[in-house]
Symmetry: C2
Subunit: 242 residues, 2 copies
DNA sequence: TCATCTCCATGATGTAGATCAATTCTCTGT
DNA sequence: ACAGAGAATTGATCTACATCATGGAGATGA
């Protein structure tokens, strides 16, 4: 008797619902095939497992198929700094390109499936597929501009503005991959949010309560429903987009 | 009678003292020649002149030959956020790669000479010179990690730690290009520093006074001398380098 | 050379958010 | 099913830095 086959999840780039996000839109069909051959799919990580650690030598970047990742680095004195949260369809790991060493540790916030893209193979490929090279640089540049927005947020904005901004960011990113932009589960803890936004847990918690009292959101622990999207977005000050 | 020739400043990459910083170290001599042909040298900007404005369509990145540049973006409500200071040998302008539009305005803080590197030509070139492509990505990745360090600084550190960190950063960057790491002229105003570090002018000014009183530095307006480099660096908390 | 402007310094006061503390709720593992 | 640890909420107090206000020192320009 045959062992029953497990139901198969998407195992190539063509079938992956994320490809429009994490892959060059302009790539030819044949090109996608070549990229597909290079990508390694690892078995899902469970919560708190790491993809790589700060100090690891850099060899790959990673795309998220499902789940979520927190990136953080550790100071000399042992304090952590969360540098980013990554959601499905997003790419992380380029903090290692500068000097071949990861600056961050990347850890799964929940059960998470990632695609590994070996960087040397990727470089070979992108020499012959110009759109791939450009797309990759655009993704890096997007990381730069989003980091710079965070800098503005931390330098100039109040606790309420910072948290409203994070909620809007997550909402927008989920919306872009066709998930509900108004009902979602926050994968990270209040402590992680506070760490990321330069606030204490207590302040984060109070702001969530205040937002709930003002009718902006309804939330039960990590489950969030945004009731007043435009009201929330009015709280946010973004660098003017052109 | 011939018009007298002006004394010529370095006008190619071979002669430029900055090349070790802004160009791939591993590039072959012939490759450098090809890059050299692509780079445009414009006449020096004077103080307060802009290289590009937020909203401008992106076509080039820029390297600084001499002088200094401040990058900033403007929020909806008109407030500025300084996102970076760039010194000789450093490259700026990739904030435009993501969607072909600059997010920042770049302005000269003093008389400044820049090299313009047209991005499309650069892309062609880097397809055939693999080290160039990699080096460029490394420079972008370095921007990412330095932005992330600033994020940590803004999220976790006190006014004194932030300013100490900026002074150390400038000192290190000047040192790397063989200028004095302990005596230099800050090209930016106290207001710019405050804006960059999420502090008010008054706080910046007070911290400078306190640093002077504690014997860390001696300073007269923008002229700074670091008297106790190790003391200052003890104030700084950096993400652990691997 | 005088008037205006910008930059910097320093003092007095106010406040957002940190810190400290206590309680409840929710997972985790045995 | 229970013990213990971690996550979240809420309150009371404290403090680093913002804000407001003033004066001086260099630049800039008619």
């Amino acid at each position: 008797m045959q062992a029953p086959k497990l139901s198969i999840k998407p195992t190539n780039c063509h079938d992956c619902r994320m490809s429009a996000l994490c892959l060059p839109l302009a790539m030819e069909y044949g090109d996608l095939d070549r990229l597909d051959k290079v990508i390694q799919r690892t078995k899902p990580l469970h919560k708190n497992q790491s993809v790589f650690y700060a100090g690891d030598s850099f060899s790959s970047v990673y795309a998220i198929r499902s789940g979520s990742i927190k990136a953080y680095c550790v100071s000399d004195d042992g304090t952590e700094q969360v540098t980013g949260f990554y959601l499905p369809g997003e790419i992380f790991g380029w903090d290692g390109i500068a000097d071949e060493t990861h600056k961050n540790t990347a850890v799964a916030l929940e059960t998470t499936a990632v695609c590994e893209i070996p960087f040397n193979k990727f470089e070979e490929l992108s020499a012959s597929i110009p759109t791939l090279q450009r797309h990759f640089m655009q993704l890096m540049a997007r990381e730069i501009t989003s980091d710079q927005q965070l800098i503005t947020l931390l330098g100039k904005n109040s606790a309420e503005e910072r948290i409203a901004s994070l909620l809007m960011s997550i909402s927008g990113r989920l919306g872009r991959r066709k998930l509900s932009p108004t009902r979602f589960r926050l994968p990270m803890s209040r402590a992680d949010i506070g760490n990321y936004l330069g606030l204490t847990v207590e302040t984060v918690s109070r702001v969530f309560s205040r937002f709930q009292a003002s009718g902006y959101i309804k939330c039960d622990k990590k489950e969030v429903e945004i009731l007043n999207l435009s009201g929330l977005s009015n709280l946010v000050q973004t660098c003017a987009e052109a």
